[in-house]
């Protein structure tokens, strides 16, 4: 079922995080389990930003949480491993993993005003993280937190330290969450749709800031988004995920200039301003959802190019050209 070689890194990069054969299932009322992330392989190199693009319900958030072994209930990780710094995160004792979360691996969440503790000042919340993970005393943590607020370019950081979450604008709160995510200089950062609630100009500022901070610290990043346009601007490589499977994985430019998978083409067309392209490729998702027990390609029901082979057996994620992977029997030649 797996690709013979794990969808690899760009040449000359060591993996910061490597997901192998990850499978996450949710139990259903009927007793069968629904597979939300299916046999997913992905490696992310140090200093690299990998985008993960897909529509709602594709399994993006489940994947992020599962990397940290915090699969949303009642889901469970059925198989696979997540290698990070020589350790398999999925087999680590909870106590060790808790120490690593927020310190070595951190998450930038969307809707930050709902995610921050409403009763504590933002300064205190950053200080807490610094104290817990960096073993700093109160005073040193205070200094670190203030520096971090400066680094995320919050105006008047001394005053913002004493502000409560409800006193911040959305953009400001997003910067605070980024500060929390980066205060321990983690080696791996997951940005889970982090800018989706912001208006476009603020979004651009935040993304530029995030990229700058990631580059400065040589961290690796998994950048999850629904917005293909943002992924195109922001990432080194992009993975397209559909119903918990990676459909295509390629360097950013290759993916957007010559998508190989029909689903990628459809996604790009949906964001396109070219009406002919949009008519040709987009269409509502009317195909019945698969529960993973069908033999064929998960996209076959929706695919305009589906052949009998696609319904009968599942394609593997194969390397079409060097570094460009697609899960399709009949990859597109050009878009």
């Amino acid at each position: 079922m797996h690709a013979p070689v794990a969808p690899g890194l760009l040449p000359g990069r060591a993996a910061a995080l490597k997901i192998t054969g990850l499978r996450v299932e949710f139990p259903t009322i009927t007793g069968q389990s629904k597979v939300v992330v299916r046999d997913l392989d992905l490696a992310i190199g140090a200093g690299e930003i990998v985008g993960l693009v897909g529509e709602s319900g594709a399994g993006k958030t489940t994947l992020t949480r599962s990397i940290l072994n915090l699969t949303p209930t009642p889901g469970r990780i059925a198989a696979g491993s997540v290698c990070f710094g020589g350790l398999d995160l999925l087999r680590l004792p909870e106590r060790d993993l808790q120490r690593m979360r927020g310190r070595d691996l951190s998450v930038v969440v969307p809707n930050p005003r709902g995610e921050l503790n409403p009763l504590l000042t933002v300064g205190k919340q950053i200080v807490n993280i610094a104290r817990v993970h960096l073993n700093l005393d109160g005073k040193a943590a205070q200094v670190v937190a203030l520096d971090m607020l400066r680094a995320v370019q919050i105006p008047d950081p001394e005053r913002r330290m004493k502000a409560y979450p409800h006193e911040l604008s959305g953009g400001m709160a997003q910067r605070v969450v980024i500060a929390i995510a980066l205060v321990c200089s983690p080696r791996f950062i997951i940005s889970d749709d982090a800018t989706s609630g912001l208006d476009v100009t603020v979004q651009a500022q935040i993304l530029a800031l995030l990229r700058q901070l990631v580059r400065e610290r040589d961290s690796a990043m998994l950048f999850i988004t629904r917005d293909v346009g943002i992924a195109a601007h922001f990432c080194d490589r992009v993975a397209v995920i559909y119903q918990g499977e990676i459909m295509e994985l390629a360097p950013c430019e290759a993916l957007f200039l010559s998508p190989r998978h029909p689903y990628t083409a459809m996604l790009l067309a949906a964001f396109s301003h070219n009406p002919r392209l949009r008519r040709g490729w987009s269409g509502p998702d009317t195909a019945p959802r698969q529960d993973g027990t069908q033999p064929g390609c998960v996209y076959a029901g929706r695919c305009p190019r589906a052949q009998p082979l696609c319904v009968g057996s599942k394609p593997v994620l194969g390397e079409v050209t060097p570094g460009h992977w697609a899960r399709c029997y009949f990859p597109l030649e050009t878009a």
């Binding site: 808790q98 979360r101 927020g102 995610e115 503790n117 409800h166």
Partner: protein, 336 residues
Amino acid sequence: MNLLLFIGRRLLFIAPQLLGIVLVSFMLVKSIPGDPAVLMLGPTATPEAIASLRNSLGLDYSLPVQFWIYLQHLALGDLGTSWQTTRPVLEDLLQRFPATLELVTLGLLTAVVIGISLGLASAFNRHGVLARIADFYGLGAGSLPDFWLALVLIFVFYTLLQWVPAPLGRIDIAVIPPNPITGFLTVDCLLTGNWEALRSALGHLLLPVMTLGLINAGPILKMTQSTMEKILQSDFSHYQVLCGIPHRMVVRHALHNALPSVVTIISVLYGYLIGGAVLVEIVFSWGGAGQYAVQGVLNSDLYPVLGFVLFSAIFSLFVYLFVDIIYFTIDPRIGH
């Protein structure tokens, strides 16, 4: 500064609130059937005697005029006279209200300790043994009547084991109580250094306090448990877990967020128990304010009832004011 303004504004509203409460309770008590003059003079009284007593009690006047006279007396600190005890209501209440308050306060403290600690323990580990006990306890405490539990406790600890004194009042008849300073027997004993009386008073407090504590821990436990559960499932708790905050600290922050709800249920119980503990008072012959008010209602003794309502209204208003101050200090979103 903000806080002072807030308290000032709240205090301004207390006077009209009290006036409203007095008006409503006056009308309600007046509408209870039964003529106090008839009850006071007994079955053999002549119609003339009844008429003259009614006249001297002011019962001839129309209701608004009666209310006005009552208010005038109230303004001078005169709460009327109880015809049953033939003493000024104010004196009676100053003696009985502390008895009830002492009982209810200690009972509620016990309930808070049991309820919050069990609620927290079960929130800390949802599948632990303590969580099971808490579920079971919440169910049990909610379904038991307090007077029944009081009788069971008396049977076990007085009749069978003889660990506690007889359930008759606040102190042994043989023990000389200290001169009332605050009216709270335990406090007065401490102030006067009267250890023998203190021992006896605590012995008498034990069972009624346990009764109120065990019963009222139920709602506090339920509130703590459900609020904590909700908050631990909320986005910001999940986010803290995602950030690698230790479980202990996540629970502590959740408790901070759950406090307003828990404080609310405690304050509601406190206000309610002043009158609501009356069955327990009766079982233990406590001689408290609740018993006094019930006697008043049963015998058309108007002024004790009104006095009790007034006392507990003032008490409740101050409890709620205090609760608002707690909210104010817990939650930065209030009042800014």
